[in-house]
């Protein structure tokens, strides 16, 4: 079959990524669209309760789509703002149609900002790129617009880059939050809470940024440059991930040395050196999962991979050392062929990737990736972080 045809869905789009970041804020989110584009967010990509958000999509007719409908859009946006006074910012989010007709979303945002007195973010997403781009760009835009220099608090850690699209439900991160809290660290921008602008702005006083997805790196790089806040890219998958995280934290912020001790995170299972494994997922997830399988379960051969199209705006992200070992594939056919060649014993990844595998004895460890499979498996029982992640994986690796 043609290499152009795909049997699994594309990753969630850039505007879904933008929405995913914004839904954690008190933001009035307005999609500039003929009408159907919001379905992708509502039906597939957003697994959180939409009642907690203000997410609207315009409905444009053909003439409005072609000729532009900026004035009408702004008029109704202003009215929505008047009806929802508790919003702290407004975002205008682009979709394929305004991208093709050349709508100036930046100018619209400026005008709406003047009329409402609120900060209005222009997010000219296009629907052609992946959610990685959308998350990256939105986080960076928020950082540039809202952060300002603050007094340093060395025990404050920001968690950057969490969205359900890459990491599933926020409950997956509770063990990480608990462990950081036990070390006396103050966590800012918690993934499990709605974030107000005051909290967001206080990010610039942190002693460290903990980046948990590659799409969060742009903001961390910006904050390092502007506010001299160091960052680490580490999603603490399994016991090894947690141990590594606390070793790194101990070098940067003030935490008890015992938290980084090897005994605390010693694996209990037996090693499986002859097993060959492939991990497919978001690049940082894949990299950290591969490290966990290697160190917690003794696998000699683990290849982290990611099915994604690179975005040139994110080129600095791809240069991060943590991601060097990750194989990137643009198409599912190339990934399928590569897996056929490697003949792994185990594959860790979203259940939808199983459709790319031929008949064989490969064991499959399902870790849903919402950015790929949407809501299909989001409620499934699985874990990847810390002790819980180790226990889940041990169920497959005989630990």
């Amino acid at each position: 079959m043609s290499s152009f045809l795909s049997r699994i869905p594309s990753l969630a789009s850039d505007y879904s990524g933008a929405c995913s970041v914004l839904l954690a804020l008190h933001s009035l989110n307005l999609l500039y669209s003929p009408g159907g584009c919001s379905s992708a967010v509502i039906e597939c990509d957003e697994i959180r309760d939409l009642r907690q958000t203000l997410f609207f999509s315009s409905k444009l007719g053909e003439m409005e789509a072609v000729m532009g409908a900026a004035e009408e859009f702004l008029f109704h946006a202003e009215r929505l703002r008047a009806q929802n006074r508790q919003t702290e910012l407004i975002a205008i989010i682009g979709t394929p149609v305004p991208a093709l007709t050349g709508v100036d979303i930046g100018a619209m945002a400026d005008r709406l900002s003047k009329r409402t007195g609120l900060t209005v973010l222009a997010l000219p997403t296009e629907g052609f790129e992946t959610y990685y781009s959308g998350v990256y760009y939105t986080l960076l835009t928020l950082g540039k617009r809202f952060l300002e220099r603050r007094e340093k608090k060395n025990n404050q850690v920001n968690i950057i880059g969490y969205t359900p699209l890459s990491l599933g439900k926020e409950t997956h991160l509770t063990e990480l939050m608990d462990e950081l809290g036990q070390c006396g660290l103050e966590i800012n921008c918690s993934p499990i809470e709605k974030i107000d602008m005051k909290t967001f702005q206080s990010m610039s006083s942190a002693g460290l940024n903990l980046v948990v997805s590659h799409e969060g790196v742009g903001l961390a790089q910006y904050m390092q440059k502007e506010y001299s806040i160091p960052y680490v890219m580490n999603l603490p998958v399994g016991l090894w991930g947690m141990q590594r995280l606390f070793q790194v934290l101990a070098e940067i912020v003030d935490i008890p040395r015992s938290n980084a001790s090897k005994q605390r995170y010693a694996p209990t299972g037996r090693a499986q050196p002859r097993q060959r494994a492939v991990v497919i997922g978001e690049p940082l997830f894949a990299s950290c999962m591969a490290s966990c399988l290697h160190n917690d379960f003794g696998l000699d051969y683990v290849e982290p991979t990611s099915l994604m199209k690179m975005d040139r705006r994110m080129k600095k992200v791809y240069q991060e050392e943590t991601l060097f070992g990750v194989h990137l594939f643009e198409g599912e056919e190339a990934l399928g062929e590569w897996i056929d060649r490697i003949q792994p014993d185990i594959i860790v990844g979203d259940p939808l990737y199983q459709g790319l595998l031929g008949e064989g004895s490969t064991r499959y460890v399902p870790i849903p990736h919402v950015g790929l499979s949407g809501r299909m498996y989001a409620d499934a029982h699985y874990a990847y972080i810390g002790r819980r992640g180790y226990d889940y994986l041990a169920g497959f690796f005989g630990g």
């Binding site: 079959m1 045809l5 049997r7 869905p9 789509a65 809501r375």
Partner: protein
Amino acid sequence: MSCTGYIRTSSGEEKIKLADIANKMPLDSFFDRGIADDECGELVNLVLCVPGIDVVAAGPSSCSRVLYFRAGKKGLNEKLFLLPVSSNDFATGKHLEKLEEALESLVTTRRSKAIIVYITCADILMGTEFVSLTKRIESRYGIPVKVFERGPLARRRTLPKERLCGIFVDLLQRGVLQETKSHINLLGDSGKLPKDFGLRQILRNYCTGEEIREFAALDSYEEFEDMANGKLNIALDRFGYDLAVRMWEKWNIPFLYLPACYNMKEIKHNYAALMEGMQVTWDFSQDAKEYHRVAAEVAVALVGKRIAVGIGPRSFELAQALELIGLSVAAIFAETVNKQDMTYIQALSATGSQAEVFLVSNVTVETQMGGFEGIDIAIGEKASFYCLKAKEIVVSADYRFGYEGIIEILEGMR
């Protein structure tokens, strides 16, 4: 009458009296709030349910992604192929080359009987010309390749399901024979009728000599083509009606239109129409008795309970049916209000309904936070989105004949 509606007005007015709505029809909003819709017959599934037809969805990845999950919900994505198109490919027209290659590979590897190419707003806006491409494939391989314009932009010209009907009629044309066979076609988009459902049982009892063909449950592409030779079409919804009208215009196949309804008068009309169309008589008083029994029990059990209805286009119809039973509808959530709704709005007014009407996109957070506390039962996605503490009743989009639809809802409310 205390019904009030929330509409968009240039003065920024938020509430208006129901009596004023008639002068401002149709009511709509510029923005849609992000709320999931009640399950609806999805266009891609309508095509995918026909054996032998493959679908290629070409467009921005954000557009084709939705189709995958909609088809997946019905287990139909085996025949769905996605062709993600980059912005560069759109700008240079390169996606047409890719599409042609993809179509060739599909016809040679899968023996498709027909292919429908779904295109999106992006190609509609660009005015991309697909005819020469599809003609080339058709003449080279002898299978029909049709282009279907999906998406909200296309919707403004003709309804998508109407265009899809046009495509189906084109495909059916190849199956037309001289003789008329004795099968009856059930035309509708809501999927296969469950075995124990009323219409199926009626047809089984009264049409012993005729084969029943369901559009949504055909066994082969040949059966699909043979629908053009049926002796009667029974249309179950708007899509079925459009298709039946075209089949009547083209091939003189008579049809009955039996849309699902909640209103007793219309339900009785459907029974009468079915009997007349099939030239049989039967006593459906048992069905009516069962409905009245359930309605009476529910009316007693739910005395004083406040109900919200928000099931999409038929919300006013359902609200009126519930009020007639003696239930108290306190809120109706509507995305739009159009002329068809006015019949039910007027009927609600006439019976002194205390219902308030909310245009879902205009409900403010303040109203949401405080206004719906007293609702006990929320019917449909739009209602349950706002009425957080209410018991949620999900309304199935599957076809229900006669009293089945309303009985099912009433049973759920108990």
